[in-house]
Amino acid sequence: MKYQSRFEGPWGDGRDLMIIHTGDWRSQRPVTKVGKCRQCGWCYIFCPTGCIEEKETYFSANLDYCKGCGVCAEVCPANAIMIIAEEE
């Protein structure tokens, strides 16, 4: 039997589960104010799609998968994440 996932149940480290481009569903998106990010990782933990990526000095969302729910901005203690409408 050939399995795709290394897990026994529906667990994954995010990347394993990024199989649909949920970014297409978005009507607004998060933008990290790079200088304000303290790299606490709360957005990384809370993101329901697991699309937050750790960069050199900050965290930001992978927009291929971000649905624009805004949870990251809500939990960010440094107010480093803005949510802006896609139209703009």
Binding site: Q4, S5, E8, G9, P10, L17, I19
Partner: protein
């Protein structure tokens, strides 16, 4: 953990015996909501906690759905967890119940069985068999001692790295939950030794160091893959349960059998199949009939999910007739759950043994010696090729 000694020979109800077993397994989190006939398990656990014997986080939730959800999180983080419920509590838990199995987290949950209302009723019934297909392992006990022992074994089974499936320990409400029997309670040290193989086993856990997605949204093929893995784990659980029972017997000197218990079946012509508390009554009727020269034996199903089809086929092979006594009704099939599944076993293993079914003891009514005697007589008639009804309601017909 301080764990004051609670071992010894005691007179305990099934519920209090269950609470003793849970304490001995040293859980980390218990989340629960009261419902008859399960509540005295919780009362005893809170008493143990107040006395400093149980050191565990006890979460008072607002309902059974939250109880199971809290345990899912705790188990995913590597905790040992417990809850108990009955009937409508189980119904209220339903979606979290299915979630827990699909997420493959080890949880032990007692079900003090009660009919699903309506009509209103608080005693033994078929709540547990109604959720048999949701992916949990289901074990059914016959006595208060077995409830205690089965809960200890359930942790070995559920948390095994080759299994990782939540386990129900089911027993009839009132008949077992509130009836007192002699129970040997082992010590903390003995149970720790019995559960020690789990210490060597690593399972996927959720931590801040290694955050993981859990209960994720996935598409078709991965869904099938996880269900396939679940089924494979179910198959492994059968042999694992045999092994756990052997280890238990070796350490504690009590052997109830593995997936099934066979009682005087070796040279039997007629085999009765039961599950749960009425098996004790059936055994004493069988003893009497044996004294009268009738070669009759009993097979008791201890593990209902996964269904022990191979063991059952082996046990009934070559017999002249089978009688199945169900304490539940499978609506739409005019028979009980075990009867239908035994029909499937016969087909699967190419057996063509005459089989008759009986329904009795709903809502905690007695499955009396007289009823079981009549069931055996009907099974004998089937063995002799006489015309018999497929299913008889022993209290009504």
């Amino acid at each position: 953990m301080k764990g004051r000694d609670i071992s010894g020979r005691k007179v305990l109800t099934g519920n209090v015996a269950a609470a003793h077993a849970v304490v001995l397994c040293r859980p980390n989190v218990i989340a629960s909501y009261p419902i008859t006939p399960q509540t005295s398990i919780l009362e005893q656990l809170y008493k143990f906690s107040a006395e400093g014997i149980l050191e565990c986080e006890l979460i008072n939730v607002e309902g059974e759905n939250s109880a199971m959800s809290a345990l899912m999180g705790a188990a995913a983080c590597g905790g040992r967890v417990f809850t108990a419920t009955s009937s409508n509590g189980l119904a209220f838990m339903y979606d979290a119940y299915a979630f827990a199995a699909g997420n493959r987290v080890p949880i032990v949950m007692a079900i003090a069985m009660r009919e699903q209302v309506s009509p209103q009723c608080v005693a033994a019934g078929q709540d547990a068999v109604q959720v048999k297909d949701q992916g949990w392992i289901q074990l059914y006990a016959e006595s208060c001692q077995e409830i205690l022992d089965m809960i200890i074994m359930a942790y070995r089974l559920s948390e095994d790295k080759d299994v990782l499936i939540p386990v129900n320990v089911c027993f009839e409400g009132f008949y077992l939950s509130y009836m007192s029997q002699n129970v040997n309670v082992p010590s903390f040290e003995e149970v720790e030794q019995f559960l020690s193989p789990l210490k060597e086993m690593k399972r996927t856990v959720w931590s801040l160091e290694e955050p993981l997605h859990f209960s994720s949204y996935i598409l078709g093929n991965l869904f099938m893959e996880y269900r396939h893995k679940h089924t494979a784990a179910f198959n492994r659980a059968k042999e694992k349960f045999e092994e756990i029972n052997r280890d238990f017997a070796a350490q504690f000197g009590r052997n109830f059998g593995g997936q099934i218990e066979e009682y005087r079946t070796e040279d039997a012509d007629i085999v009765m199949i039961t599950m749960g508390a009425a098996s004790g009554t059936a055994k004493s009727v069988i003893d009497e009939m044996r004294d009268g020269g009738l070669k009759v034996g009993l097979v008791r199903i201890r593990m209902f999910r996964p269904f022990p089809k191979e063991k059952l086929a082996e046990a009934v092979k070559g017999k002249k007739a089978i009688g199945v006594i169900d304490r539940n009704v499978l609506c739409g099939w005019d028979c009980g759950h075990v009867f239908l599944e035994m029909s499937a076993v016969q087909n699967r293993f190419k057996l063509q043994i005459p089989m008759v079914g009986f329904i009795d003891g709903l809502a905690g009514a007695d499955i009396s010696e007289a009823h079981i005697g009549r069931a055996i007589q009907t099974t004998v008639a089937a063995a002799e090729g006489k015309e018999t009804k497929e299913v008889t309601w022993l209290a009504l017909e």
